[in-house]
Symmetry: C2
Subunit: 328 residues, 2 copies
C-alpha cells in the first residue's frame, strides 16, 4: 500500500519570528520530541528566509532521528496577517513581506503539507489544545512581548475577521492622548504595557534622575536589557522597576477587562516573553484590576491565567494546526 | 386541520425599556403593520410590567385588526443579560430585575411562543436582517443613547459569550483616569460619548461660564434637554455644543477603531437615540477617526454606517428573532 500522509505519525510546528525561527517535532499527543533553531535574517529577503525555515525544519527532524516522510504536516505561525486558505502572508511588517506565498514556497522544499497562520492565533491554538485540552468554548490569548497581540477562539474555532486581522489588541486605545505607539497613534495598549513600553518608561525615569540597580547590572545605557533583568531587579528591591512593572500590569488588567466586557470569553490566557519572565510580579495585579474594571456580573466564572508553554506555545500551536488540518 | 403555529402569518417584536414598552406587528417580510406603546412603570414591580407588556402586545394586534391566534411568535428585547434558552432575564439594572422568568410569565398570558434576548443584541439582529439583508458575515451594532451598548453577530449568529453579557462596549475603557462612569470606573466609552456624558460636559461648561443657545431654548437648567436640541443648537451656530458633540464623535470613532482592530467585523452599524438625532453632525467624524486609529490594512473594505431603523430597530429585531426561532 502506498504511503499516504494520513499514515504518518509526526507533526511539525514552526514559529517564524522577526529575529528567530524555531521548529519542533511533535507526536500526535502534542509531546515535543525535538527542536531546532536558527536566526531569521529577514534583511536577506524572503527567499533566504524560506530556505532557512526549510533547513531548520529538516534539522529538527534529523535531531529526532526521523525522516521527512514520517511527518504528516507542518503548521507555521508568521508575524502578520495570513490567509489560511492560500497560505499567503498578507503583510508582515517585521519581515517586510507583502502577499508572500509562504505555503507554496515551503511545499516546494518539503515533502509534506504546510499550513500558515498568524503567530498569535497559532500560539492561542497551542495553549487551547495542549494546556486547556480544548475545553473552553471561547478563549482569548494575549501575548505580551516586544509588541502585544492576541488570538481569539470562539466556539472552538479560530476567529479571524473580515481582513484576517482580528486580535490586534496591542492597538486597542486604552488612554486617549497617552504615550506614542509604533503604529502612529497614541495610548495604544502596546504603548503602555509591552516590553518596549516598559523599557521606554525606565529610560525616561533614568533621564529624570531616578535610580535603579539595572544600571549596576547592565551599565548606564541598560544595554541588552531583557524582561528577566526586570524580575531580578525587583527581587533585589528596586522600587522604580517594581512600580513601572506594576503599572504595565494594571494596564494589562484594564485591557483584560475590556475583553471580558466586550467578548466575555470563558478563559483569558496571558503569555509571551514579558509574562513568562514576570508572571509572579504581574499576574495577581492583572487579575485584580481586570475584576475591578469588568462590569458587575460579567466576569463571574471567567478564568484569567498565565500560560506555562513559554516559547513552546508557537511550535505547539503549529503542531495543533497541522493535526487539525490533516485530520479533515 | 388543526391550527399550528407554523401556519400563522404574523410576527411580533417588543422593545422593553426602562421607561417605555414598544410592541409591533410584522409580516414575514419584516414590514411593520402596526404598533402600540405604554410606559413601563418598572417601579411597580415585575408582575405589573409583565401585564403591561402583554396589554401592549394585544393592543398592537388589535390595532392591526388581527387576532392573537394569527401570531406565530414574539421576540422581546430586554435591557440586560438574558438567557435565551430559558427566556430568563438574568439581570436588568434599569428594571431592578434579577433572574426573572420573563418568557414563562409572558407565555402564561399570550397564546404564542415568546423569545427573550438582550436589547442591543435584538437591535443588531433587526439591522442585520432588515437593513443589511443578512449579507455581512460579521457585524457589530453600537447603540448610543442614555447608555452605550453593542450587539455582535459572527458568522451570521448572535455571539453572547460565557455569561451572556458580550457586547458591553459602553464599559470599554478608552481613557484611563477619564471621567467617572455610572459603573464605578473611570474613562469608560459610555462616560465619554453617551447622551449622559454629553449633557454632563455641557453642564460643566455652563458652570465654567461658557454660553450656549440651549439656555435660551430650555432655560438655565437645560430642563428636558434631548439629543434633538443639540442638533438644533448646532444648526443655530452654537460652537460650544458643536465642540462637545464633535468630541463625543471622536471618542466613538476610537471605540469603532478598537472594534476593527480586535474583532475586524465586515460592517459596523451605529444606532440609538444620539445617532438618530445627530447623524449629520457625528457620522463623518466617527468614520474619519476610526480609519485614522485602525491599524494599517485592518479597516480595508470595512463599512461603518448609521442605521435608518431608529426606534424600530428593537421591535424589528424582535420580529427577526421570532422568525428565526419559529422557522426551526
Amino acid at each position: 500500500m502506498a504511503d499516504t500522509t494520513k499514515d504518518r505519525e509526526y507533526l511539525m510546528g514552526v514559529d517564524l519570528g522577526g529575529t528567530k525561527i524555531l521548529a519542533g517535532v511533535f507526536d500526535d499527543k502534542l509531546e515535543c520530541l525535538g527542536r531546532a533553531k536558527k536566526s531569521t535574517k529577514a534583511q536577506r529577503g524572503a527567499d533566504v528566509v524560506v530556505e532557512r525555515v526549510a533547513a531548520t525544519v529538516l534539522e529538527a527532524i534529523d535531531e529526532c532521528d526521523l525522516q521527512p516522510k514520517q511527518i504528516r504536516g507542518l503548521g507555521l505561525g508568521a508575524p502578520g496577517a495570513c490567509d489560511p486558505e492560500t497560505g499567503t502572508v498578507i503583510f508582515a511588517p517585521n519581515l517586510a513581506w507583502k502577499n508572500y506565498p509562504l505555503k507554496k514556497e515551503l511545499e516546494k522544499r518539503l515533502p509534506f503539507p504546510v499550513f500558515v497562520e498568524n503567530d498569535c492565533n497559532i500560539q492561542t491554538l497551542g495553549v487551547y489544545e495542549k494546556e486547556l485540552k480544548g475545553k473552553p468554548r471561547h478563549l482569548v490569548g494575549i501575548f505580551l512581548g516586544t509588541g502585544i497581540g492576541a488570538g481569539i477562539i470562539l466556539d472552538g474555532k479560530l476567529y479571524r475577521g473580515f481582513n484576517r486581522t482580528a486580535g490586534e489588541i496591542g492597538h486597542m486605545v486604552l488612554e486617549v492622548g497617552g504615550p506614542k505607539c509604533g503604529c502612529g497613534n497614541k495610548g495604544c495598549f502596546e504603548a503602555l504595557a509591552s516590553r518596549t513600553a516598559i523599557f521606554k518608561r525606565l529610560e525616561a525615569a533614568l533621564r529624570d534622575g531616578h535610580k535603579t540597580v539595572l544600571t549596576e547590572m547592565l551599565g548606564a545605557n541598560l544595554e541588552d536589557l531583557r524582561s528577566g533583568d526586570l524580575r531580578k531587579a525587583i527581587k533585589r528591591g528596586d522600587k522604580l522597576v517594581e512600580r513601572i512593572v506594576e503599572e504595565a500590569a494594571e494596564y494589562t488588567g484594564i485591557a483584560v477587562a475590556n475583553i471580558i466586557n466586550l467578548l466575555n470569553p470563558e478563559v483569558i490566557v496571558l503569555g509571551g516573553g514579558v509574562m513568562d519572565a514576570l508572571e509572579d510580579e504581574m499576574l495577581a495585579i492583572i487579575i485584580e484590576t481586570a475584576r475591578d474594571y469588568a462590569m458587575n456580573g460579567t466576569a463571574e466564572g471567567i478564568e484569567i491565567l498565565a500560560s506555562r508553554l513559554g516559547d513552546e506555545a508557537g511550535i505547539t500551536g503549529g503542531a495543533v494546526l497541522a493535526r487539525r488540518e490533516t485530520r479533515k
